[in-house]
């Protein structure tokens, strides 16, 4: 019986964007359903995180927060839709490094200005990327991999989930700091991890959720993750920085809004978002997606984005990805 109640409750919660719930929220905002523009396709890792946040942030604000998938052009389509939306507090934008800090800088004409066009609310979490290698390679550590790659002079392949993807840039950074070269084999969609398993490519760096199952089953070998420190999410895994100091490629996620959104609304959003991320359900759901919850002040978030842009532009230029 309890289960049925839960189902009914869920259906009611989801279907009824009931304005009566909004009473007592003060200041007249929010009085109607809101949307979270998601510049990624349904089923991607960020989409899943976004849906978790949207569900509980909506509860926190007493309004339904609808995820609006606007994938395309590496995220530029969605970011532009968010940028051009009315800055009335009813449009939020989910942001992660590819759409905000890479895609605008590989187009001929920069389509938007990440620093000027958006108001920053808070980061929500950091997803570690994990360096995996093919199991039959016999490589046990980051240093082993670098030595083998140097010995084989570029004959080791690195798969990625596409040109300019996090997986590509994180791998390029490893080659850059580790001073070795691997052939880049880009995949569309989710082919990068399976290709390491099948042995067609030798190593790859991908968001932890996409490879944890295979790592735990011993189908691919995990060497290290990309955060600059150890993480409680992957207690047994060293960080790449332990072998190669200075290595840091963190995939943060955050919520932003169109630039001219009124300050009182931004303040309320920040408070509600911080409260959302402190909820037990959200903590559990994020942990299941191998994502650490990290909240920040708007100023900290802004600084983080600026920092990420600087380092990504350097990589994009080094890789010749910039079309000019």
């Amino acid at each position: 019986m309890r289960k049925t109640d839960l189902v009914l409750g869920a259906v009611v919660l989801c279907m009824a964007a009931s304005p009566t719930l909004a009473q007592g929220s003060g200041a007249g905002w929010p009085v109607k359903p809101m949307r979270l523009v998601m510049p990624n396709a349904p089923g991607t890792g960020t989409d899943t995180l976004g849906r978790i946040v949207a569900q509980y942030l909506g509860e926190e604000l007493g309004q339904q927060l609808v995820v609006d998938n606007r994938a395309g052009a590496g995220g530029v389509l969605g970011m532009n839709i968010g940028r051009n939306a009315a800055p009335d507090g009813y449009t939020l934008i989910y942001s992660s490094p590819p759409a905000l800090t890479v895609a605008p800088f590989v187009q001929k004409q920069q389509p938007f200005d990440p620093m000027k066009d958006f108001a920053y609310i808070s980061t929500i979490g950091i997803t570690p990327n994990v360096l995996i290698v093919n199991a039959s390679l016999g490589v046990k550590s980051v240093v082993d991999l670098i030595e083998l790659a140097r010995a084989k002079k570029g004959a080791l392949n690195m798969s990625s989930s596409g040109n300019g993807s996090q997986s590509h840039l994180a791998g390029a950074l490893l080659q850059n700091i580790g001073r070795f070269e691997s052939l880049h084999v880009p995949f569309k969609g989710g082919g990068a991890v399976p290709s390491v398993m099948s042995g067609e490519s030798h190593w790859s760096i991908n968001p932890a959720p996409s490879s944890l199952g295979l790592i735990r089953a011993g189908k691919v070998v995990a060497l290290a993750h990309t955060l600059p420190r150890r993480t409680p999410l992957l207690p047994d895994m060293p960080s790449i920085a332990e072998s190669i100091p200075k290595y840091n490629y963190s995939a943060w996620n955050g919520i932003i809004a169109p630039a001219k959104t009124p300050q009182p609304i931004l303040d309320r959003l920040h408070k509600a978002l911080v409260a959302t991320m402190a909820r037990a359900e959200v903590k559990a759901a994020f942990a299941a997606q191998a994502t650490e919850i990290v909240v920040s002040t708007p100023a900290e978030f802004r600084a983080l984005v600026q920092e990420t842009i600087a380092s990504n532009i350097k990589l994009v230029k080094a890789l010749g990805l910039q079309v000019d």
């Binding site: 396709a41 395309g72 052009a73 389509p111 084999v185 969609g189 199952g213 089953a217 942990a287």
Partner: protein, 502 residues
């Protein structure tokens, strides 16, 4: 013996999980929603499952998966309905069903076509469920044997086989395939990140979607042709004789269903396989095997049964790599992986051992769901058939409205609707010129995949073309493609074959 006892034990456990009232209810909800989503053109299972995901936060993981899975395979049933009745593929996997399914409807045999589609889907669903139960993990590892060169060979074989898709001129069919491949070139080059034929339009960066093109080429152009013909009667398809298929229909449909199922399972487990390519493949195969290929396109029942079995089998076989390896072969499976991970369940090789109730519960629920779908759909056939007897002036605007809503919802983008309209006009012109749209669509699907894998193969091999002949899988498939090509292209061979038959 041991294996059998183990299997029965597992299935018993699965029935225990799937037959609880809550899970049965969720299965029914999923199947109903799926049917609806399938019937409404363009509105796909991907968007639906994404929207339903928050509800699953509050459900048991098994129940959640049962419901979401129901939406997916339910949509495979529903998709064939509009394809048969109004030549409008409700799902991309139902494109091929239009060819002969709608032709049957025009001859007044819509009921028979719908029944055959539903029964073929049930058969495929049952067999695929059994295959998952018996050999899931083993089958999954086969998918890993496939590397880029092998995919290239599969696609080459597919493109060669596509030539037989057309029932008109061979040259026109080839031209249509090439045109499809060209349209598929639009977008961002996967290997270099360079833009091709996008003219700086953001909406073209990810290429032209398959669904709007399919709906335009088939559905909208069909409406235009109908309006032009100014048919005097009230409806598209008339009911001539009974609803149920004849004995002759069953005799022809049965072997096609079996072959379609096997093809669907084989191709569904491959990454990127999904349910669309198997349905095309099955149609080509049936046409190739038929004693009288000219019946195809004129309402051949095998052309409905085979592809419908193949798309359902392909849809369900996709669960094998998703569950057993944690590798989602398509976007829908990726969504399901996300839904499971919210509950702290990591799909992967250990899932069967660690979450037996989830795995077996899902397997059994898929079978129950398939049964539900047939029970739901068979009585509806009469209703559907009557629905399309509505006068054109009500029917056509309604269809176009649904198409626009559905296509818009694919990417929440107006551009998709524009693409569909353009494809509709193009489809009208092409059909006036006697060119078949089906080969174009196949070129559009296979072209980009072929290119991506071809270039990846050469990158990995360092530019050595021998890589395609060194791998046993690709070498075998390429040899088959060459044989097929020789067979099709040599008119002498064909003539002799026809002589022999007489």
């Amino acid at each position: 013996m041991d294996l059998l006892t183990a299997l029965l034990g597992n299935l018993a456990q699965g029935f225990g999980v799937a037959m609880t009232p809550v899970n049965l209810g969720l299965c029914l909800v999923g199947c109903l929603l799926g049917t609806l989503v399938g019937v409404l053109p363009g509105i796909g299972p991907t968007a639906t499952i994404a929207m339903l995901m928050p509800i699953t936060f509050y459900l048991e993981p098994t129940g959640a998966l049962i419901m979401l899975a129901g939406v997916f395979y339910g949509s495979q049933y529903g998709g064939s309905t509009t394809a048969i009745l109004v030549n409008l593929p409700g799902e991309s996997s139902s494109v091929v069903t239009c060819l002969d399914g709608h032709a049957m409807a025009r001859q007044g045999r819509a009921g028979a076509a719908l029944a055959i589609a539903a029964l073929a889907s049930l058969f495929a669903g049952t067999v695929t469920t059994l295959a998952i139960a018996i050999g899931g993990p083993a089958i999954a590892s086969v998918a890993l044997l496939f590397q880029s060169p092998d995919y290239v060979a599969v696609m080459v074989l597919g493109l060669v086989a596509a030539i037989v898709l057309a029932h008109g001129s061979l040259v026109k069919a080839m031209a249509m395939i090439v045109l499809g491949v060209f349209v598929g070139l639009i977008g961002t080059d996967v290997t270099t990140g360079e833009q091709r034929f996008t003219f700086g339009i953001d909406d073209l960066f990810d290429g032209v979607g398959f669904v709007p093109v399919a709906m335009g080429l088939f559905g909208l152009s069909e409406i235009m042709l109908n309006l032009e013909a100014r048919a005097q009667n009230g409806g598209l398809a008339r009911l001539r004789d009974r609803l149920w298929p004849s004995r002759e229909d069953f005799r022809r449909a049965t072997p096609a269903t079996v072959r379609g199922t096997l093809l669907g399972i084989a191709m569904g487990i491959l990454p990127g396989g999904g349910s669309t390519i198997p349905s095309f493949a099955s149609y080509s195969l049936e046409k190739k095997l038929a004693r009288d290929p000219s019946r195809f396109g004129q309402g051949a029942v095998e052309g409905v049964a085979g592809p419908e079995a193949a798309n359902n089998a392909g849809a369900q076989a996709g669960f094998i790599p998703m569950l057993a390896l944690g590798i989602p072969p398509n976007a829908i499976m990726a969504l399901l992986v996300g839904a499971l991970m919210i509950h702290g369940i990591q799909p992967g090789p250990q899932i069967i051992a660690r979450q037996p109730e989830l795995f077996w519960g899902l397997v059994v629920s898929m079978w129950i769901g398939n049964l539900m779908l047939v029970v739901l759909n068979l009585p509806l056939i009469g209703l559907w058939v009557r629905l399309i007897q509505m006068p054109y002036r009500y029917l056509f605007p309604a269809i176009i409205v649904f198409c626009c809503i559905g296509v818009y919802s694919l990417r929440n983008s107006m551009m998709e609707v524009v693409f569909m309209a353009m494809a509709g006009v193009a489809g009208y012109v092409l059909r006036k010129l006697g060119c078949e749209p089906a080969p174009l669509l196949l070129g559009l699907i296979l072209g980009p995949m072929l290119e991506e894998n071809f270039r990846r193969s050469l990158a990995v091999s360092g530019g050595d073309y021998m890589i395609f002949l060194q791998r046993p899988i690709s070498a075998t498939l390429l040899a088959a493609a060459v044989l097929l090509l020789v067979f099709v292209l040599l008119p002498g061979v064909r003539r002799q074959r026809e002589l022999l038959r007489e």
